[in-house]
């Protein structure tokens, strides 16, 4: 059984900051929506049904031999901070955290995949890889899906494919997402052009990290909207193609900043770094914004005292529930801001490793 306290101390595989284009692409994620053939969808499930689905899945998926490092976390039995902790870590959705009744998540020890039980659909399988690696993520999730399928019968329709609670997911039941860090496009105010290129094939864009709705640290997530009529590989190719375009735009914007104002850029990222190293109390929002500058600074070789995996980790570990788990006690907003500043000081400001290990 995974202990959340232990998780808090470690770091998911997908944050290691390697893989193709990982200076811009933080993670590639795929999720599959699946339902069991012998139960009604969640909306028409009684409390008894929910419990029965959870029990059935725990029992059957427990038989998968290759999964000895996989544990089940009973989300219904967790307090609010622990649920929030799993959301910040991207192991469960906000929807699962906020729901009622029997529900949970299967997580492997490296946090490379998770299977939510009783979310909008009976099963939500998710794989996250570091960098732009959608094909890698697809191969892995396809195998996981095959393994699960040996032990359960999915609701599947000859013509419509995998049947889901919401008709927007029917067919492949697949959502492919790429999380991009695009500080230079934000800084040069070229984001508009980016959105225009997206609307053409109706991809969804949204931010991710952050307490509340702001403070996104210049992260944007793109994903497919449609799930029917195209194969999984075709959907992946479509999202990949757009991701490549965005990467190209962001690189151009970064080059522009370097060529037309290196001093200002260097000043900006250095100040951000200085603030993070020395602040005594700092909000989540400010932390995100400054970390975003630092991340770009490291990737452009302007800051050499810290490495990308550390910066990636700080985005997650300075979130409210993480700070409280790491500290081992619940904290008020004001106390969190102090704890956050201390945490940042402990992890920045001194050379952690040899800078030659820089991989971007």
């Amino acid at each position: 059984m995974i202990k959340l306290e232990e998780l808090a101390g470690q770091c998911g595989e997908w944050l290691r900051g390697s893989g193709p284009d990982s200076d811009i692409v933080v993670s590639s994620r795929i999720r599959l929506a699946r339902n069991l053939a012998d139960f009604t969808f969640m909306r028409k499930c009684t409390g008894l049904d929910r419990a029965s689905i959870e029990r059935t899945l725990r029992e059957r998926l427990g038989r998968i031999e290759q999964w000895d490092s996989v544990s089940f976390i009973d989300v219904n039995g967790l307090d609010e901070v622990d649920r929030q902790f799993l959301v910040e870590r991207q192991l469960i959705s906000r929807e699962l955290a906020d729901a009622d009744g029997s529900r949970g998540v299967l997580v492997d020890a490296n946090e490379q995949f998770s299977v939510m039980v009783n979310e909008e659909d009976h099963l939500r399988i998710q794989v996250m890889n570091s960098g732009l690696d959608l094909m890698g993520a697809w191969q892995r999730i396809n195998q996981i899906d095959d393994l699960i399928e040996r032990h359960v019968t999915y609701a599947f329709h000859e013509r419509l494919g995998y049947l889901t609670a919401c008709p927007t997911n029917v067919g492949t039941g697949m959502r492919v997402s790429v999380m991009l860090h695009m500080p230079a496009l934000v800084l040069t105010r070229h984001l508009e052009r980016v959105f225009r290129s997206l609307q053409r094939i109706s991809l969804a864009v949204r931010g991710l990290y952050g307490e509340g709705s702001q403070a996104m640290g210049d992260f944007y997530q793109i994903s497919n909207q449609i799930t029917l009529g195209k194969s999984e590989e075709e959907l992946i190719a479509q999202v990949s193609e757009v991701a490549q375009t965005l990467i190209e735009y962001e690189r151009k914007a970064r080059n522009f900043l370097v060529e037309n104002g290196l001093k200002e850029l260097h000043d900006r990222v250095s100040r951000a770094y200085g603030l993070l190293c020395t602040a005594q109390t700092i909000s989540s929002e400010e932390t995100m914004a400054l970390l975003s500058s630092v991340r770009m600074g490291v990737n452009l070789g302007l800051i050499r005292d810290v490495e990308i995996p550390t910066v990636n980790k700080l985005f997650i570990h300075t979130q409210p529930a993480h700070l409280q788990k790491i500290r081992g006690t619940s904290l008020s907003t004001a106390d969190r801001n102090i704890e956050r500043a201390h945490y940042l000081q402990r992890h920045l400001g001194r050379r952690t490793h040899d800078e030659s290990t820089e991989n971007n």
Binding site: A37, D38, M42, R159, Y162, T172, R189, E232
Partner: protein, 168 residues
């Protein structure tokens, strides 16, 4: 131009497809409102586009009387009414795809631009509607048997379910 949401200058101009293929909506937002707008959870956006696609489709296809009648239609398997589905955007069971097919198919085509799955298929699945609904029915009956502490009947039903699943 002013931002749609506040008094600041609009610097982001977003054109979005809403529901119907030919229907486009323009948004003019300042930077901070654009951030807020884009950070909205995408599921909610999908939900609203689903609702508007559905509303569009129903408006064209039905009179008020027909719609009222349609709203009362329920799935014999899970008991969900069409009204409940269109108010919440979530279906009640796999059988809904069959019993609401005339209404759902245009909607699905509208959302996805396609109507046939071409991707992965599970190695085994309940063949046809009968087997699928049979599974849900047996499962419900088994639950009732357990509640009544009729364990003999429950275990009979469990075996039937297993048999069906193995056939799949």
């Amino acid at each position: 131009m002013k931002c749609d949401h506040c008094d600041k200058q609009a610097t982001f101009h977003i054109t979005e497809r809403v529901g119907e293929q030919e229907h486009w909506e323009e948004r003019h937002l300042c930077e901070s409102c654009a951030r807020d707008y884009l950070s909205k959870p995408s599921e909610a956006d999908i939900q609203s586009s689903l609702a508007s696609a559905l509303a569009q489709h129903l408006k064209i296809g039905q009179t008020a009387d027909e719609l009222a009648k349609l709203d009362k239609k329920t799935c014999p398997m899970c008991g969900i009414s069409f009204f409940e589905f269109r108010s919440h955007g979530r279906l009640g069971c796999p059988h809904d795809y069959v019993c609401f097919e005339p209404q759902l198919m245009p909607l699905i085509e509208n959302i996805h631009g396609e109507k046939t799955h071409t991707g992965k298929r599970p190695r085994r699945y309940a063949k046809g509607l009968d087997q699928q609904t049979q599974l849900i029915r047996l499962r419900k009956e088994m639950q009732r048997a357990v509640q009544k502490e009729d364990y003999e009947r429950a275990s009979q039903l469990r075996d039937e379910i297993r048999e069906l699943e193995d056939e799949a």
